[in-house]
């Protein structure tokens, strides 16, 4: 007798149970509703879309990180209390599976949870869907993680780059690895520059280059220093330009020192942390979002900036090329090449913003439709 059956957790016949229109999904995630950051946002968008699929009955979400769930959750979502710590999370997952059996699909929201998710899927005779975001999937992991990912029926990667890096070290039919990019919500749209923000940063009448990200020592790949190093050249030709850095973190003192070192401290403004609600207004302040990063799983800020109608410049060595639309929505430059960066900034400062409709291809409705198509193609059609 299979272990899952013995425990009474079985999905009730696996494939046959999935022929019906209402699949039940157990989603193991780091955080989602009420959480902060890119992964939480992605999970929210994804789980909300999943819950609206015709074929999905309900989605039971077990987050690991402590967060305050929103007062109103999308219909079809059941948000369980977070279970912090590996052991507690594992027991939490078992408990959730027992309480909500039968489970048809186990969704694993982070690669580091893949072993648990793979065991759960096996116990439950359920399908396994693993999501990979970025840097965590770029290096070869241990055999345990590799085999857990290889057991997945469907893997979704946030970008083509992440997909490619994952496929470098796992042995799986590439057809099972699909790309499901970030989406961008309707609150990010073009609009006027907010006067109070311009005043706050002494930016009236000035062109604004902007980078939006955490300023973490562990995330120096974002490329603030690359931008700062080329500012003297930029300011020489475009003296009415400032560089506005949005975000905060433990790397800020180093960047402030670097700005001083290059004698551009007067024109480099640190906006500090910005609340999520204010973020669209900040994007609208800018003329160009520039982030010559080398470590983006996707680079949601490019998408948000494009949706707000401003020009973007990013790197061509990571997932950034996806929100940049391979250069169609903004130049994808070699981030290590300062001349290329300067040229791209010059070009962007010389012309009016053109990205008014650029983010349309990433809008939530299209994202939701694709989630539904993935569910149909991998969990319904094959049954």
């Amino acid at each position: 007798m299979p272990v899952g059956t013995a425990l009474g957790l079985s999905g009730g016949g696996g494939l046959n149970a999935m022929v019906g229109p209402s699949l039940r999904v157990l989603a193991l995630v780091t955080d989602a509703f009420g959480g902060r950051g890119g992964i939480a946002q992605y999970n929210r968008d994804f789980l909300s879309s999943l819950a609206t699929c015709d074929q999905i009955g309900d989605v039971i979400v077990l987050p690991r990180a402590s967060a305050t769930p929103l007062d109103t959750l999308p219909s079809g979502i059941r948000h369980l209390p977070p279970a912090q710590g590996r052991l507690a999370f594992s027991f939490g997952a078992l408990r959730a599976a027992w309480a909500h059996r039968p489970i048809d699909v186990v969704f694993c929201g982070h690669l580091f949870m893949a072993p648990l998710a793979a065991v759960m899927a096996r116990l439950l005779h359920a399908r396994l869907w693993v999501q990979v975001h970025g840097i965590e999937a770029w290096q070869e992991l241990s055999r345990l993680y590799r085999q857990s990912v290889e057991a997945a029926d469907l893997i979704t990667a946030v970008s083509r780059y992440t997909r490619r890096r994952l496929l470098e070290w796992i042995g799986i039919d590439p057809a099972r690895v699909k790309v499901l990019p970030n989406t961008v919500g309707p609150r990010f749209h073009p609009g006027p520059k907010r006067g109070d923000l311009l005043d706050r940063h002494d930016a009236r009448g000035k062109k604004i280059l902007m980078t939006v990200s955490r300023l973490a020592r562990s995330e120096r790949y974002k490329g603030h220093d690359r931008v700062i190093r080329c500012l003297p050249q930029v300011f020489l030709h475009h003296p009415e330009t400032i560089y506005l850095i949005v975000g905060d973190g433990d790397d800020r003192p180093r960047l402030e020192a670097l700005a001083s070192e290059f004698a551009v401290q007067d024109k480099v403004r640190f906006a500090g942390p910005v609340a999520g609600e204010e973020l669209p207004d900040y994007y609208r302040l800018a003329d160009v979002l520039v982030m010559p990063s080398t470590g983006e799983g996707f680079g949601i800020v490019f998408l948000e900036a494009v949706a707000c109608g401003i020009d973007v410049i990013g790197g061509d060595q990571d997932g950034s090329v996806d929100p940049l639309g391979d250069g169609a929505l903004g130049p994808a430059i070699n981030p290590e090449d300062s001349e290329e960066l300067v040229s791209a900034i010059f070009a962007a400062l010389r012309k009016p913003a053109t990205n008014v409709h650029g983010a349309a291809r990433f809008k939530p409705q299209v994202f939701s439709k694709h989630v539904q198509a993935l569910v149909c193609s991998h969990f319904i059609a094959r049954s």
Partner: protein
Amino acid sequence: MCGIAGIYAYHYAANAVDRAELRRIRDHMAARGPDGFGEWISQDERVGLGHRRLTIIDLSERGAQPMTSADGKLVVTFNGEIYNYRQLRVALEARGRTFRTQTDTEVLLHLYAEKGEAMVNYLRGMFAFGLWDSEKNALLLARDPYGIKPLYYADDGWTLRFASQVKALLAGGKVSSNHEPAGWVGFCLFGSVPEPFTTYQEIRALPAGSTLWVDRVGTREIKQYFSVADTYCNAEPARSPASDEDLQRGVREALLDSVRYHLVADVPVGAFLSSGIDSGALVGLMRDAGQQEIRTVTLAFEEFRGRSEDEAPIAAEIAVQYGTRHTTRVVTEREFRDDLPKILAAMDQPTIDGLNTWFVSKAAHELGLKVAISGLGGDELFGGYPSFRDVPLCVCALAIPGRIPGLGNVARRMLTGLGHFSRLGNPKAAGLLRYGGSYAGAYLLRRGLFMPWDLESVIGVETARLGLRRLNPLRCIESVLKPRPRSAFGKVAVLESSLYMRNQLLRDTDWASMAHSLEVRVPLVDVELLRHLTTAPATYRSKTKRLLANSPRVPLPSKVIERSKTGFTTPIHGWLQRDRRIQQWRQVPELAAGKCPWARRWAFQVAAA
């Protein structure tokens, strides 16, 4: 016979088809189709198909591709020949379908409209095509049962690109050129890259006998519609022993039937002629099939003059016997030196073979031929390789010791540890106990170029480690034996047909001939012929090629039948020693050792190119 290409921006986030990229991919294959070119891009610019044409059937402009159905709903880009297209056309016309051209391409469109993807089961021939179904909003890729025609695709997660050649996909400029360790390990082990791998991570071969749908969620699961193993397993050999005459008559009829089909063309069909049974018998059967004028071509090398490897004298006798217009083309070391850069550029995937086909195709092209018949496949069909004897013997002798856990590895380590054991004898001998007890292992020993433990010194530790894990050589070999034929003959025939012939002989024939705008047809690689032979009384297997040699109305001379097998070889061993441009192998001690097989040195050079 042509070059096909396509781009499908299936993902909602992908950019529209880049026409310039499509043209770069297509035109990289100009030699495959020098007679014409075409492209088609859908109205929404999400799909683009390209084509380079070598005109062989219906030489008119009406046969240009990509070809659209009359209702505009289907578009196809097709490479190959459908030999039974006339019969299919009659059947389709009887169902009320109206044709606009005399091409086999149009048959594909109508057949798909009638049968959907199941159409592939009705086709007799060699083919690879991409067919866009605008109603389904999906692209169908398909490849012939044996994999005579190549089809590669690259899916980056947003956009699928396909082409007849790996290098064409790279020429488009948007496919990653990251290396695939499994492809390199496969090349070093087998001398050719085993499908579905290529030496590039993002590019894969559509396996022979398979179809693949691509829709808005991307590539679906590959569906295999034919396998050689299945044919051997499903065949019910006739139980009643047939008389020699009946057996011979049956084989002759099946062979003649295949040859007749392979002569369908609106241009002259020539033949490669060696001193062996396969090509000689086919030339005789071409004559029996009613072909009036037959042009034949044989390669000769100065180095082989007066030696057993020299094919020219016997080939000339065969040519006289069947009354062909015969040409013996002498290839010199100088010509090899001159052609080497072109050979390496045309070599689509690394391989240790193909030189002979390069030169014989060049010779045929010089004679003005567009189509030539080749005897490729005879050894796989009639058990002509020593492996038909050696592999079962090896398995029989080593099956029991091979099952003792760890013994094979210990023996191998001891033997290789005895100080360059490989220099003293066969470098594969150390692996006998480790591999010899199973069909997959014994086959690896028989066909292997390097052994797994040699790889680190040739391709580096990391590539070897990752590649061996991803390829899993024994599982790769074993996978073609599903289902598993009962007879030893069947098992070896499946291994040879599904690995060596598919990944090496057929692929090399394709790139080396197409580089000279020559279509090579292989009547001995034919599903109907295979089906006939697998249902023939089992006694045919013991008669091997004698049946083939005696199939023409005027059988081949006995000296051809009794001549020991030499293979289709070139004097590359000596050329490798002397050409200064290809001496990197000398830097690797294992390759510089005196008894190192030349194929290993050539493989190293090819990989370094």
